[in-house]
Amino acid sequence: MSQAELNTGRVKVGDIREVGRQEFLDLLDQFPGTKVLVWDPALTGPMGLVAEFSVLKEHEVVKMFPLSPGPLPAISADNVVFITRPSLSCMDIIADNIKQEECRGGSGVKTDFHVLFVPRKSLLCEKRLVQAGVFGSLSCSSLPVYMFPLDTDLLSMELPTAYGDLVTGDLTSLHYAATALTRMQAVTGVIPRIYGKGTAAAQVFDLMVRMKRETCGQEPQVRSQIDTLVILDRGVDLISTLPTQLTYEGLIDEMFGIQCASVRLPEDKTVPLSSQEELYQELRGLNFNAVGPTLSRKAKNISAQFEERHEARTVREIKQFVDKLPGMQTAKLSLATHTTVAELVKEKIDSEEFLSMLELEQSILSGGADGGKYLEEVEDLACTMAPLSRLLRLICLQSVVNSGLKPKLYDQYRRLVLQTYGHSWLITLDQLAAAGLLVQSPGTRPSYSILRKRLGLIMDNVDEQNPADIAYVHSVYGPLSVKLVMQVESPGWRNIRDVLDLLPGPSFEDTQQVGGQGVARDRVGEKKVVLVFFVGGVTMAEVAALRFLSQQEESNVEYLVSTTSVITGNTFIESLSTKLEAPAF
């Protein structure tokens, strides 16, 4: 999406991108002559959102390669620029590349090597390059791009391991998050009100306060575009990461994995998914059961429009029709694409396995049932070799909803997993325990039943075609995280202290001094803008719920979402898993 397209929302997301893009291009311009870029695969997609190849070519980039061990592809350029996350494994590959290149003696042209770290250099990485003996042959710089715009109302830091890193005590992503929010405010203005819940959220806020103190007197002199920031630690609501997402976009992500606002379908077909496409904008947040009817209504509309050509009699009428043609063609194409995608999704959700999983999830979420009740069902699924992460999602859901499993059941589930999928998964079970996803009950009363009642998490008889509550995103369950965010405006977090205290970690509330004119309002009565930042990931179903709320006529709030990464239950569990692969005997 272009800067102008990204700027169509209430917050000028395009401007945020523009800052990163400019820094990137300025850095490249510092290296005189032609450049070959070598990309850490984790960054190709995200950085592609910031600067397209066509732009890079204007800055003398002649070729791009993915980072891989062994010699660099033979190409002569004045500069080789490695663009990488600060990870040790990437350092080893870079060192290997450079050594092999030096052995080869070059192609007669003198090549300079540079490493750009996104978002910043790390001492550990530089040390690694020193140890490998290549530090002297290259220059290192930071490329401070922290947030990547996925849409006009969604920014991701593209750090898929953030939650797992926090669990193991690596706090790097919190520093990144605080820096990202600080840098964002330099573009979109100081955010006057800040709320937060959870340990990681409090840490991010502390870091932001410290960063602000360090730059004292240098307040950004721009009008504020955002009224309120809500920082949520994923650990506060693990429940909502687990149930199957039932929105169109959520299901596409579950089934095929959305990467940087596009999805790769079977047979290698890539489909871009953004609000720029009118039809997708309308479909993405719908419950999947409402997608079919909407598609067929659209199809009828379009054929009716094409029929109009028979009624066009005068030259003027014919001309009017012809003028509408390009738009109709685009709409037709878009309709064909999404009919295909919806059919692919439908194929998968019609399977017996999918339906029995869904049924189990929904009864775990809406039942106050005794924890042991589902053992046989879960056993059956395991015996039919359901994918491990799907099975773990179910078991973890039962654990988080009941604030832990009874000791006997806890062991039965774990043994089932190990005997079915292999004993090497023991480590993963320990990691899920550390993450709070699969734990033994401490014997206290589960807080879920209270939360459920107080926040209205469960809705029976949701009208999926025409929903009135966010519960439609999972058909019965409205995400706890989003319900908490809703309470910020009314009745206010001060009035739900008892609810907040049931959830882990501190909650806080603060204000920041806004210089000058205060929050920008183009029109009187315009909605407030609330930025919700999820530390540890957000699902597209949660994003859909927030978008749904923004669209309600009676709502006085519009939401913007930012996150360390977009997750699904599967990717979340997988980011916490370690597969031990024993060598063959």
């Binding site: 056993e379 005997q419 292999g422 004993h423 023991l426 024993a582 060598p583 063959a584």
Partner: protein, 114 residues
């Protein structure tokens, strides 16, 4: 930790020895569940080594369920029965494994005798 390390080796003796050390560690740390799992892993590996020798087919590194499924597919029902009792697999689960294994190996007679 030793449990993880035991997976680094491609030699059966080293793997088994690693698992024995892991058991000692779990015992000291009073991690009963992990202790029983390390023990189960150890026993399963030894079983699988025996099966490879006996049947001349690969079994090592399969999960317990996959080991039993393969035995059932190979019509080694008695050996599968033995694993079932050795590792206390419930009747219910065993029935599932049989249905799947007989189905995939087209042993229709066995399937209808269940």
């Amino acid at each position: 930790q030793t449990f993880i390390e035991s997976y680094n080796s491609g030699r059966l003796e080293t793997r088994l020895a690693g698992l024995v050390t892991a058991q000692e560690q779990f015992k000291r740390g009073r991690e009963d569940f992990n202790l029983s799992i390390a023990d189960e892993t150890h026993r399963l590996l030894k079983y699988q080594a025996g099966l490879e020798e006996k049947l001349g087919k690969p079994f090592l590194n399969l999960s317990l369920h996959d080991t039993m499924t393969r035995l059932l597919e190979e019509k080694e029902i008695k050996l599968a029965d033995k694993l079932k009792s050795e590792f206390k697999i419930s009747e219910r689960k065993y029935l599932w494994l049989k249905v799947r294994a007989f189905g995939s190996s087209k042993q229709w007679g066995e399937l209808s005798n269940l």
